[in-house]
């Protein structure tokens, strides 16, 4: 009997031992369709994270809708009407957004999602090959700069307001957060406008240095120049703005499309797109509830058509100007008939972010205002280049105001008016450029978790 028991004992012990040894490893299961931070090990992984930020650029809380729409609603002077039912957009249109606004929360979150990924990329440069390090780093800095520029403009006072070391804008987070242990790095107070702009300019200059001239539909050197020209323009540094815009124009890489209509609804970047949001059936700004096409395109084409052009807006164009007839009649999903712009009228097409036409207008205006001439054209020649393409009547002379009006005409519905008004301290309707209601609230939800954040006036 004894031997029988011994035999069993051995069998059982061996059996259980085998089971536990083989099974313990089975508990270490990593998700198969996602990757976790410790799996970011190769240049390809880091690059993929970098490309993940394009999803945030494309998202409706980025250039997929709100960077244009919310800007235009805030700077609205009977240009557009929001006729949809989304309460928060109606409030934005009435400038009655409150501190719990989902729009203010969404734009904030989307920006920092991209910024954090850019920060992660910058913290993982050691796995990127020497050949590509500058390009990857440059692109991450471009992304970070673009988002900070947009956020800073929405949630803080403009650079033109002065008080650079006391005016507060959004928090400047430059460290990556990937695990709970790093969460402290996100509890940051609001940065000054000065610090923010210094960082943005530095990042863009690094981007220009690191990015290649040709980078497919991703950001290249000229996209960084283009954004730098916007930043300098906002700062009133006209010579620098003209230089940056000129770098794009003089490169010869871009050319205006032959017709104004040709600049929009393209399947791929047009000859004048310096930077554009790409879309496809499977990756787009939205096709049912949100997205710039969904909002701006008539319901007769199957979209919501919640944003209509006011009858007043086309009156800014002179007779014969192609841009003054770039509209069609349609209706919204709730059956309200109205006028729609052709700029965003086809699904899954490129949404322009920076076009060459803007560079001409920026160089011309900056040269005019600085009194110097950067590049091989006078301000009048630059504005004429843009106006001729649209078949607008020729001008014999040009003023700063002409450039402002021309930007309204050329860049209507592209979110530019907000920035132009603020940098030049122009009233928006009856509101002064620095009115509290022209700045978004710091999201209440964010202040609940980060007590270091102060609220903007008026909220």
């Amino acid at each position: 009997m004894k031997s029988v028991i011994t035999k069993y004992k051995i069998l059982i012990v061996v059996f259980l031992g085998l089971l536990s040894a083989s099974c313990n490893k089975k508990l270490d299961v990593k998700p198969q369709d996602t990757i976790s931070p410790d799996q970011i090990k190769t240049e390809a992984d880091v690059t993929a994270l970098l490309l993940g930020t394009y999803d945030d650029l494309q998202y409706y809380d980025g250039f997929g809708q709100n960077y244009q729409l919310i800007s235009d609603l805030i700077a609205n002077e009977n240009d557009i009407s929001f006729v949809g039912t989304y309460a928060d957009y109606r409030r934005a249109a009435n400038r009655t957004l409150d501190r719990t606004s989902t729009v203010a929360e969404g734009i904030w979150l989307n920006g920092y999602r991209a910024i954090n990924k850019a920060n992660i990329v910058l913290s993982k440069l050691d796995v990127v090959s020497a050949d590509n390090k500058d390009a990857v780093s440059g692109e991450a800095k471009f992304i970070r700069a673009v988002f900070y520029y947009e956020l800073s403009g929405f949630y803080g006072k403009p650079y033109s307001d002065g008080n650079l070391t006391t005016n507060l804008t959004v928090p400047l987070v430059l460290d990556a957060v990937v695990n709970t242990g790093e969460i402290d790095k996100a509890y940051v107070a609001r940065a000054t406008v000065q610090d923010m702009h210094t960082q943005i300019v530095k990042d863009l200059q690094d981007a220009i240095a690191g990015l290649p001239a040709d980078n497919g539909t991703r950001a290249n050197k000229y996209a960084a120049y283009a954004f730098l020209s916007r930043v300098y323009l906002a700062e009133g540094k006209y010579a620098e703005a003209a230089t940056a815009a000129n770098a794009v124009i003089a490169s010869g890489v871009y050319s205006l499309t032959s017709s104004f209509a040709g600049a929009f609804n393209n399947a791929s970047n047009s000859s004048e797109d310096i930077f554009g949001i790409q879309q496809s059936e499977q990756s787009n700004t939205g096709s049912s509830n949100f997205g710039i096409i969904t909002m701006f395109d008539s319901n007769t084409n199957g979209d919501r058509g919640d944003v209509q052009v006011d009858a007043n807006q086309p009156t800014i164009y002179e007779a014969g100007d192609d841009r003054g007839s770039f509209y069609y009649d349609g209706k919204s999903i709730s059956g309200i008939t109205g006028l729609y712009t052709y700029k965003y009228s086809t699904r899954y097409k490129v949404v322009p972010v920076v076009r060459l036409a803007e560079m001409y207008l920026t160089r011309g205006e900056a040269n005019l205002r600085s009194g110097a001439q950067v590049g091989d054209a006078t301000p009048l020649e630059d504005i004429t280049t843009v106006r001729d393409r649209a078949k607008a009547p020729s001008l014999s002379a040009v003023t700063g105001d002409d450039f402002v009006t021309e930007r309204y005409r050329e860049l209507a519905f592209e979110g530019d008016k907000f920035w132009t008004k603020k940098r030049l301290k122009l009233d928006i309707g009856t509101l002064a450029y620095d009115n509290d209601k022209l700045i978004l609230p710091i999201p209440e939800r964010e202040r609940d978790v980060n007590t270091k954040l102060t609220q903007n006036n008026g909220y």
């Binding site: 270490d28 299961v29 998700p31 957060v177 695990n179 996100a186 509890y187 539909t217």
Partner: protein, 1022 residues
């Protein structure tokens, strides 16, 4: 860990140092408890061994009992198993019954069985007879009102939908609160695998209820802790029927046919009422408009408003004479099948000899829901096989294979769901006379119209199987090894035709495919040493491993050439597609000892350690111990033999269980693939969850104390339990600054409690030879309280309900309606100071009810007289509220649009002095239309859940027909309901997303009511 195991193994082996010796003979007679007739074919087995015998034609049996053996088990198909301690008896006569009232009845527990009288935990057992032939798609529905403390909500009258089941309350906020289901030892995947954009479906609906021998619900920690990390929500053990050794093979045929109709229709205005009330609203609005200066005169205002509504009616009546109500469409009637048919065939055979036993069955079931389109068809088969290879070795397999097809309708929140058709104007014709086809020119896109072109078909292949070997070293020591699998394969084809509203003229399709495969093995020793007369010990030691792989894909496309090719292959444009691939694993070790001293002092202790891949390497493992004790007072000298109080037991248990149903990989920061054109990348999901590698189980500490009693030889018996469940380390999503790039991080940071009482009473009122009448009452009371959630507030998807500290989970929170101002018909609300106001914005949100009931229960009466049997079950629920979320559209005096209104609106305020709760009608300015307690109703109800009348054909007749038995029955379900609610009170719309179903309950949003069903059936045994 391995050292502990080794030590325990060695101890077991040393203790089991016994050998076989002289046998003695045991004999007796087995009878049917109901009519005392002898029962042939009953399997009698020596517990712990594979040897046994079968009773002869006259019910007698005899078998040799080896010296080490202590216990005999008696089992017979259709009867409850019994387990008898032999002691020094040589004759054991026994009566087998079908009910669960017998104290020597065997109850299935985790990894073993126990006799009811020796239980120290809290377990409810439901037998086959209470589940068979129930006309609901899934067996859980048959448990409703049968087990105290088990609350089952089917939520709607749609078929195949997920059910919400709560055992002793909701014990989580962020993780699932559904129980763990285990069929024949194998844990099942019970969560919905269907298209996440529709309502959840129920994988358990694939289990044939007629295959079930018993269902045991493990409620307290002592019973459930052996399932450790998955046991906080209770465990439901399903045991399927097995073959029994018998003289002949028993073949059983069940046929039933039924038809169903809604229990209750809401009732909407007819065309004339609609026109009159809409005109009244226009008149009211005209007057209001003049009063606030919108119009120069009252007459102008009234004319303007009336013209406005008339223009709508002109349009939607398709030119018919709506002023004279020429068209009067009852849209509510249109959404239902009239007498929706269902039929079911079930054929089974069981039998075997001392070497091999089998149970084999096949079924076919076809059910039409009361709502159009919705239909559920199933067929499948089962084979359960047991083989005794030698006196040491037995082995077997269980295998069930099923296919089901569910024709689905859209979720309650879609225009295309038939439930929303009730909103259409009654003046809109059903058929457009110009085309002769269904009218699609209605106020809202018509679900009836779309139903012609759309479909959503879900097909499941579900295989649940396991194999086991049982090796008996000695009568006192055996080892069982089980390997099982749950293979669930689901495909869902959805198509919106080109002509439908959702198809947008181009046709849109979706294809979803999911395969979830669970692999499970349980390996354990059972040790029952003979320690003499006064000691009885059963010890179980083992391990378990579970691996689940879920692979899925979906594809979406549009631009179909025509509706003729509705497969995704017909889509010219693919607009989306992806795959999922998720694995989780559990590795567990468990040890349990049940010890009784002098047959009256009972002790049980168990410990389980669970490792799970759902938690990070730091927290893979958790410990889940439980202890319990019982005192059989009726075995004490001072009570023993007492004729009045024949049975009395006190028991108490305490233990810790866990909840790990939080989803996979939550401890990691996860980056998903982004599909930016030409440049795919990685990014976190939106809004973004930061990983927390210190995540661990939710933990529930449960205390249970109970008393069991029996009077007058168990004529009256019952059980009362008190429990206190304290859940801590609640898994909550905590907000973190967006500046981190993330939105939330999951933390174990909350506490919640459930306290309650459960009462079960059984009475054999009349127990004569030909006439038996029994009554069973069960009651459950549960009080939930959210104790600490870090000051956060979690809301249900609709925002009407919340989890907030100090309140029960699922509290309704909204403005409180204060009735109608008799002077002007304004809707009134309570303001912050408790005064009435007509200014909605001055009305703060407050607690106005709770979604979960205080009391639930069932009252069942069974009467049998000669060949007739009558079974009547009432179920009831009290203390909960229901919110009619659709009230803002369908009962708001047209304030939500031109939706047809419920009959409640006929009692509206009309002139100064009217005292009513229905405010003045107003479609333009609105009056009392915002979310408020105006649409909160008392959700209590009492319902005649089932009535079954059966007739068993006398043996004289059946023997001439050469059949063993035959029973005919008619049954009715949900025949009568008493409630204050305007529709069916068993209602809960929406998703089973964890946080939503934990917080949200009792919401009605165009929800399809329950079915009232009649069935006739026949059961023949050959």
């Amino acid at each position: 860990m391995r050292k502990v195991l080794l030590f325990a193994t060695v101890m077991l082996l040393l203790l089991s140092h016994y050998s076989y010796s002289q046998d003695r003979m045991i004999k007796g007679i087995i009878k049917d408890a109901k009519d005392n007739s002898p029962l042939p074919g009953v399997t009698v087995k020596i517990k712990g061994t594979t040897s046994g015998t079968v009773s002869a034609a006259d019910g007698t049996y005899q078998l040799p009992l080896p010296n080490g053996a202590t216990t005999l088990t008696y089992s017979f198909i259709g009867y409850a198993d019994q387990e008898i301690v032999v002691g020094n008896r040589t004759t054991i006569d026994i009566a087998l019954g079908t009910g669960n009232k017998d104290l020597s009845e065997v109850v299935v527990v985790g990894y073993g069985t126990q006799v009811k009288r020796e239980l120290t935990g809290s377990i409810s057992k439901i037998n086959a007879s209470e589940i068979e032939n129930f006309p609901a798609p899934s067996f859980e529905s048959a448990l409703q009102g049968k087990a105290a403390g088990v609350v089952i909500e089917s939520g709607s009258g749609k078929l195949g939908q997920g059910l919400k089941i709560r055992i002793r309350g909701t014990s989580s906020i962020g993780a699932s609160s559904q129980p763990l289901y285990v069929v024949d030892g194998i844990p099942l995947v019970s969560s919905s695998q269907s298209d996440a954009n529709n309502e959840p479906t129920n994988p358990l609906a694939d289990i044939n209820p007629n295959d079930i021998e018993s269902v045991e619900v493990l409620k307290d920690a002592s019973a459930a802790a052996i399932y450790g990390a998955r046991a906080s929500n209770g465990v439901v053990l399903i045991t399927t029927k097995r073959g029994r050794q018998g003289e002949k093979t028993q073949i059983s045929l069940d046929l039933s046919r039924g038809f169903s109709n809604p229990t209750k229709k809401r009732g909407f205005l007819n065309a004339r009422q609609y026109v009159d009330l809409l005109h009244e609203a226009a008149t009211n609005d005209g007057k209001t408009g003049f009063a606030i200066g919108d119009f120069a005169s009252e007459a102008e205002g009234i004319k303007y408003m009336t013209d406005y509504v008339d223009s709508y009616m002109d349009y939607y009546s398709l030119g018919t004479d709506w002023r004279n109500a020429k068209v009067n469409t009852n849209w509510e009637d249109q959404i239902y099948h009239k007498n929706a048919p269902s039929s079911q065939v079930n054929l089974s055979a069981s039998g075997g000899n001392e070497k091999t036993r089998f149970f084999v069955s096949g079924f076919y079931s076809d059910q039409d829901a009361i709502i159009k389109v919705n239909r559920f068809r199933r067929y499948g088969g089962r084979l359960n096989l047991d083989h005794t290879a030698s006196s040491h070795l037995s082995l077997g397999v269980n295998l069930a294979v099923n296919r089901s097809q569910l024709d689905r309708v859209s979720d309650d929140n879609a225009y295309s769901t038939p439930g929303q058709v009730v909103a259409q104007m009654p003046i809109s014709p059903l058929i457009d006379s110009a085309t002769g086809k269904l009218n699609n020119n209605t106020l809202y896109p018509s679900g009836l119209y779309d139903a012609q072109y759309n479909f959503d078909k879900q097909v499941n292949f579900h295989t649940i199987g396991s194999a086991y070997v049982n090796y008996t070293f000695f009568p006192s020591l055996s080892f069982r090894s089980e390997v099982g699998t749950d293979l669930y394969n689901l495909t869902e084809d959805e198509y919106n035709g080109k002509l439908s509203s959702d198809g947008a003229g181009i046709g849109k399709g979706t294809f979803v495919s999911t395969q979830t495969v669970s692999l499970n093995t349980n390996n354990y020793f059972t040790f029952t040493p003979n320690l003499g007369k006064s000691h009885k010990l059963t010890a179980t030691l083992g391990m378990s491993y579970l691996q689940n792989d879920n692979k899925g894909s979906y594809l979406q496309g549009e631009n179909y050439p025509s509706d003729a090719v509705p497969d995704l292959s017909g889509a010219a444009t693919i607009t989306g597609g992806s795959t999922t691939n998720v694995r989780y694993t559990f590795l567990s070790y468990f040890l349990r000892g049940n010890y009784s001293f002098m047959n009256k002092y009972l002790f049980s202790a168990s410990v389980r350690t669970d490792g799970s891949s759902r938690f990070g390497p730091k927290n893979h493992y958790g410990w889940f111990p439980a202890v319990s004790a019982g005192w059989l007072i009726s075995e004490e000298k001072f009570l023993k033999g007492n004729n009045v109080l024949n049975y009395l037991k006190l028991k108490a248990s305490y233990g810790i269980t866990g909840n790990s149903e939080i989803g996979n990989g939550r401890y990691l920061t996860q980056f998903q693939v982004t599909k930016y054109p030409l440049n795919p990348g990685y990014s976190t999901d939106r809004p973004g969850v930061l990983g927390n590698d210190s995540l661990k189980w939710e933990k529930t500490k449960q205390f249970d104390a109970g008393i069991e009693f029996g009077f007058l030889n168990n004529r009256i018996s019952g059980e009362v339990d008190y429990y206190n469940k304290q859940t801590s380390d609640l898994l909550l999503a905590a907000n973190i600054p967006y500046t981190s790039g993330f939105s939330t991080v999951y933390r174990n940071a909350g506490d919640m409690e459930n306290k309650g009482v459960e009462i079960t009473l059984n009475s054999r009122n009349i127990d004569a030879k030909d006439f038996v009448w029994t009554t069973t009452l069960n009651l459950g009371y549960n009080k939930n309280r959210v104790k600490n959630i870090g000051g956060q507030i979690f809301e249900s998807s609709g925002g009407e309900q919340r989890a907030v500290e100090g309140q029960p989970i699922g509290t309704f929170y909204m403005a409180k309606f204060a009735g109608v101002d008799p002077a002007n018909g304004d809707a009134l609300y309570y303001d912050a100071s408790g005064k009435k106001t007509n200014d909605y914005s001055a009305a703060p949100r407050m607690v106005v009810g709770q979604g979960n009931p205080d009391w639930t229960g069932g009252l069942s009466n069974a009467v049998s007289y000669k060949g007739f049997d009558l079974n009547v079950l009432f179920t009831f629920v009290s203390g909960n509220s229901i919110y009619n979320r659709a009230g803002i559209y369908q009962a708001a005096g047209f304030g939500g649009g031109f939706d047809n209104q419920t009959h409640e609106m006929l009692g509206r305020w009309q002139k100064a002095g009217d005292v009513t709760n229905i405010p003045r009608l107003s479609f333009y300015y609105g009056n009392g239309t915002a979310e408020s307690s105006r649409w909160i109703y008392d959700g209590s109800y009492i319902r005649l859940k089932t009535v079954t009348l059966g007739y068993t054909v006398p043996k004289v007749v059946t023997s001439t027909l050469h059949i063993a038995s035959a029973r005919l029955y008619v049954a009715g379900y949900n025949l009568w309901t008493k409630t204050k609610y305007i529709s069916d009170p068993e209602v809960n719309t929406g998703s089973n997303d964890n946080s939503i179903s934990n917080i949200g309950s009792g919401i009605d949003f165009y929800t399809i009511p329950q079915a009232k069903t009649f069935t006739v059936g026949l059961n023949v045994k050959f």
